[in-house]
Symmetry: C2
Subunit: 191 residues, 2 copies
């Protein structure tokens, strides 16, 4: 049973505001792929827009160019090994979903593969073509057209990192397969 | 006594690879400012390049346009209140360094204000002018020309998050003054 519920689009930026490592998925209808990306960020609240670096050599980039769409899925701590594995191999060598037993279903608006089991949230995005930044910086802009999150860790527009949902907590890649988990929340006090 | 040591430029991306909230500083020689930014990411390893979202209404953006430069400083957990405070007020209303007792010194290459006390690292950046993305997405690209980190938490090109350096550990803004700290490191295992 999935615990995913839709996230209001004006809350979508909150899903990636804290800089988690994401899985980027795409499909051109006949082929699909999933890769890890540490380099993504929101760029606008409303309309919700994000930027993500997808190297021009990757199979995912080819699928994004073909489909004009992609999804960002946020792996929880339990998926750290899968995240590193799909970030270290190319989908041109074989379907990574099948190899790693990754379940995906079509996103509601664009049909991009979205992952729920083991993930905290996903964002389905329409590519905003920006040929210069795609070429010069491998930076792809996208508009979020649908989003959802596991209500055990994100509900009512807010993250809730607790001791009892550690497996769903986002991961942040330091490099070379070393990740940090998020930890206790800290509330800033007015100065 | 500062524990900061230079970071090799080919390791600079590692400082922000895990998505920490940063303080963006800039100066035009006579005026200076510091603001918080949750939206930044590396875009290239070598030459080391980053992207950061700086709203076009901000005083910092005006200084970056004037100087063609900025610095990203990584506040540690001990600076969470200062980070939120400088992200909630404008430098047009008064010097935020003075108001919050923030010590800064000129960066070695471009003279941008860099913060060390309470921070884990900083990156001094030369703006790469990209008028379209600056206008359409408030997204500013920069090349890192100098970087340094506190050796108690980043040394030999690697982060080391430990129980005894929690105050220096990076923070990640969820929104509304709620941050998460980084926690224990997790090493991915080959699949």
């Amino acid at each position: 049973m999935s615990h995913f519920q839709p996230v209001a689009l004006h809350h979508a930026s909150r899903l990636v505001n804290h800089g988690p490592t994401v899985l980027v998925t795409s499909t051109d209808g006949s082929r699909r792929n999933v890769m890890a990306a540490a380099w993504s960020m929101p760029v606008e609240f409303t309309p919700p827009r994000i930027a993500v670096v997808i190297d021009k050599q990757t199979f995912t980039r080819e699928l994004v160019a073909a489909s004009g769409a992609f999804a960002l899925c946020l792996p929880g701590t339990a998926l750290v090994d899968v995240t590193y594995a799909v970030g270290s191999t190319s989908g041109r060598e074989g379907d990574k979903f099948a190899r790693h037993g990754i379940a995906a279903r079509p996103g509601p608006v664009l049909g991009m593969p979205v992952l729920e089991a083991g993930c905290a949230a996903w964002l389905e995005c329409r590519l905003i073509p920006e040929p210069h930044t795609e070429d010069a910086y491998d930076t792809c802009f996208g508009e979020v057209v649908a989003a959802a999150a596991d209500v055990r860790i994100f509900a009512g527009g807010h993250w809730d990192f607790r001791a009892d949902n550690a497996d769903l907590q986002t991961i942040h890649h330091l490099g070379g397969g070393n990740f940090v988990r998020t930890a206790g929340m800290v509330r800033a006090q007015p100065l």
